[in-house]
Symmetry: C2
Subunit: 549 residues, 2 copies
């Protein structure tokens, strides 16, 4: 009898709820499993993968985690590691209880995440405002100088007028939005949440609102649109983490058209990788093509959308694990970081092949889109910072007029002080300076400064500390006092005269956006609005439209 | 104590050996599981899939099989179904014990088949005769008129001289070879076994031998070579059933170069399909492209191999479930059967899109490569037979000069007598007739005749019964007497003056190949060689090189 009951339980366990079987002494209740699965998705899956096979972070497969044991894992989750693992307890993101729960959870077999069919997607598709009911002309003057600001932890987007500095609208988005992109005309701002919810905001409306939304994935990082003149505002594309896939949609309604699986073979060892995630997408301006980074396999896929029903995909071997990247000055070459291998891969989108894998001479390059400079000395160069070291590098990108500099690190500088922690650098043709942040550097002082690099000397010419009053401390659930991390991410206004940065606070308090003069470096104004909870990435309509950085 | 032991067993069972858990009352020993897994692979996986999700045959997933129960399943496996399921017991292919074993096995969860990495493949790669040690010129006179004859159940290929009709060589191959193809120059004959073993035979040798081999898959059906003039004899390609993938290789050594996963989304419902199998591959003569049928998803992939490291794949929506097909007379249009939907899909390989999905007006079209006729009345037409009905259809394939006939069934005829059972039809420009077999028709008389269709009238003008003496009966292991099925598959000699057909016997006795005059229809000669065990498909070097049918 007893055995029969055990048999019953374990039969179920074999059909998915594997926790009971594999945990042995470790047991979690259904509620604990649900909670842990959510926390894992929110905080861990990005670097370690839904299947826990590892990517930027190491494998967390149950067998390996068991070797560490609960106490060691608790310590790592609480305090982080020098390798880049955040101290989730220390930063107040996880409570003591959550830390313990996660230490146990990762010693239990990962449940297989669900698939998503076209029918599933269509259930979540909403046209909130039909095309015919939308404005026929812009209802606001400055819409081309609007900023879309990600309010990360509250799942909202603030639309801010770049001229008046007023918040014109706050619209709901998916959870922890990773990026927003405009269409070719700039009218619509496309938003992708980490939860795979895509939405589009009509910037022509006096008060911009979401006009359509759809959940194309369970986990996502990338969205873009068709930027080729013949396909202006015709299609959108979402890159999914899970299910690993590329989804194309109608640009004006987000109606899903096509799903392409990215499950594929690693470019080097050629092993099948079920979880081959889309890390970044960028649209070509010259060709009807999207450039798609497949993280785990180290391939860049050139997705030709000219026949949307019958896509043509060129699979280019690059390097693992691909993360983010941007265009060189000519917009022919895609410069992208294989961050786990400390490589910058260069893809020629005209020839459709790899030009070079360039050692980044630093630890964990993290370019975002990177920065372009037309240097008197080196010619056109593209730059990136690093998460794991204080190196900023510049690579020559003009093989025709500056062959001696092409695809080499022509200049490497160090941000002052120890350690990396840089996430973004940004430039603009009308600014003499490049701006760099350092929000994940453990040193409080370094973390709360802006680093200013002169475009001609390519040296750090100034560090701007953020005045204390803007680093408003707040109390976490379990009473810990946590101050804002400091400035994160930069964006220029349309004419490049101002540069904006967000103060990365926590969700208990609003944080300001600081605006500096891009020539005098004076603090010109502060946007302080109680609705600005955890502002992070900012995207100016004109600069996003034109890929200016 | 007892419970702890059960726990132990079942923990293991969750990690793959699921039989014990899910079988409930049905238990199989380790040996029985191994035996059943092999039989399933040999007899069932082709139509029902390794994951048992179904394709040409219905789903055999454990939950569904349990509803039928052991007795019903035994009956179906033994006697077959009108839908096309063979009666494996009746035909003597399975013993009583094996039939019972399989009825139980399919009520147990399918074990997940293994992956195959580049490293795995390379372990099985053998260059048996290095390029430098192979003949510099042909050592035999008639090599361009050689036939490669598949000896299905013994895993061998017989090379037969089309002029002398002598067996010049018998070489080992993979199990139950599905097809053989030549390179562009005809020198090498490439062979793919159902077990995924690819091998290549050098026809320039006085006694042709295998010169290289590799196991690229665990289950495969398709192989071809680069036929574009600029890539003559440069690359080979294998299409895998499991792992679902495309593997490209060096044509002279079979050294593996690249693996591309075919796991993808169904073209219509857009659901992820892990088991998306490569059913057929055909090489373009005009473009550096392979045409690849993805069975379960109903897509045809045009695989551009001009940059072998960075393939460019156009994914064309067609219909499910794709099986076999061939070129139209112009070699621009790929005519392929979606056999579960009774559709002939037409792919334009120049435009890279679907031209038409044409109802085949019969049940389960099975063209092989099909047949081409330049008809005075209809212009260029392409024809196919059916497994499930006695219909032979002809479709117009010249939209320029015969637009009124293009992509329509212009003629449909019926083979005499009830039921289908046709597997192959074949033609040649120098033959006034098309020849059709019917080996899987249940009626003994119909099964053992050759059906002759006149190319001008497109009517069946003659049926040729196979003389009894060539249908040599043999005894199976459990003493059942089973005669040969009758003629299967046709191939012409190089000048089209003769047509060859195999007598499909069983592996207990040799079976002859009969050779008819393609104009007078007289039986000209019989190749009777004790080494010819279960001869089936035959491929003439010249006709295969030039895709003449």
């Amino acid at each position: 009898m007893k055995i029969r009951r055990v048999l019953g339980i374990l039969t179920i366990s074999c059909l998915g709820l594997t926790s009971l079987v594999n945990a042995k002494e470790i047991k979690l209740s259904k509620e604990e499993m649900q909670k842990a699965t959510q926390v894992y998705f929110d905080r861990c899956a990005g670097c370690h993968g839904m299947l826990r096979k590892g990517a930027l972070g190491p494998s967390l497969e149950a067998t390996r985690s068991k070797e560490f044991g609960t106490e060691t894992l608790k310590h790592i989750i609480n305090f982080g590691t020098p390798g880049g693992m955040p101290g989730w307890g220390k930063t107040g993101e996880l409570t003591k209880e959550e830390t313990e729960l996660m230490a146990k959870y990762i010693q239990i077999e990962a449940p297989l995440p669900p698939e998503k069919s076209m029918a599933d997607m269509k259930k979540s598709h909403k046209i909130l405002i039909p095309v015919k009911d939308r404005p026929k002309a812009p209802e606001a003057e400055n819409w081309k100088d609007y900023f879309a600001v990600i309010l990360r932890d509250v799942g909202e987007i603030a639309i801010i007028d770049g001229v008046t500095k007023k918040v014109v609208s706050v619209v709901p988005s998916g959870f922890a939005t990773h990026i927003t992109r405009t269409g070719a005309s700039g009218r619509y701002m496309y938003v992708i949440g980490r939860d795979g919810k895509a939405s589009m905001i009509d910037l022509w409306m006096k008060v911009p609102k979401n006009v359509a939304e759809i959940r194309t994935c369970n986990d996502a990082r990338a969205i873009d649109t068709s930027k080729h003149p013949d396909y202006k505002d015709k299609y959108a594309i979402v890159g999914c983490y899970w299910p690993p896939s590329i989804v194309t949609l109608e640009a004006d309604t987000l109606e899903p058209l096509k799903i392409v699986s990215t499950a594929s073979y690693t470019y080097d060892t050629q092993e099948f990788t079920r979880e081959a995630r889309v890390a970044a997408i960028i649209a070509s301006h010259e060709r009807p093509e999207w450039v798609v980074n497949i993280k785990e396999t180290g391939q860049v896929w050139l997705y030709d959308y000219s026949d949307i029903k019958n896509p043509k995909i060129t699979m280019v071997d690059a390097e693992r694990y691909l993360h983010d990247g941007g265009w060189d000055l000519s917009k022919r070459y895609f410069m992208t970081a294989a961050n786990a291998r400390n490589i910058i891969s260069v893809i020629d989108t005209v020839k459709g092949n790899l030009v070079a894998n360039i050692p980044s001479q630093g630890i964990k390059p993290h370019p975002g889109r990177g920065v372009n400079v037309n240097s008197k000395k080196y010619g056109p160069i593209w730059g990136s910072g690093h998460i794991g070291s204080n190196d900023i590098i510049f690579i020559g990108t003009d093989p025709v007029n500056y062959p001696q500099n092409a695809w080499k690190v022509v200049k490497k500088i160090s941000l002052p002080g120890e350690g990396g922690g840089n996430l973004f650098i940004k430039g603009h043709p009308n600014s003499p300076y490049i701006f760099a942040d350092r929000p994940v550097n453990p040193d409080r002082k370094l973390q709360t400064q802006i680093y200013v690099i002169d475009k001609e000397s390519l040296e750090v010419v100034k560090t701007i500390p953020i005045p204390k009053k803007y680093l408003t401390p707040a109390k976490t659930e379990d009473g810990k006092e946590v101050a804002s991390r400091g400035p994160v991410h930069f964006e220029f206004n349309a004419d490049g005269s101002e540069v904006w940065t967000s103060i990365w606070g926590n969700k208990l308090k609003a944080s300001p956006i600081l605006i500096y003069d891009s020539k005098t470096l004076e603090l010109k104004s502060v946007i302080d609005d109680k609705r600005l909870i955890t502002p992070t990435g900012k995207f100016n309509v004109t600069n996003t439209m034109t890929d200016t950085y």
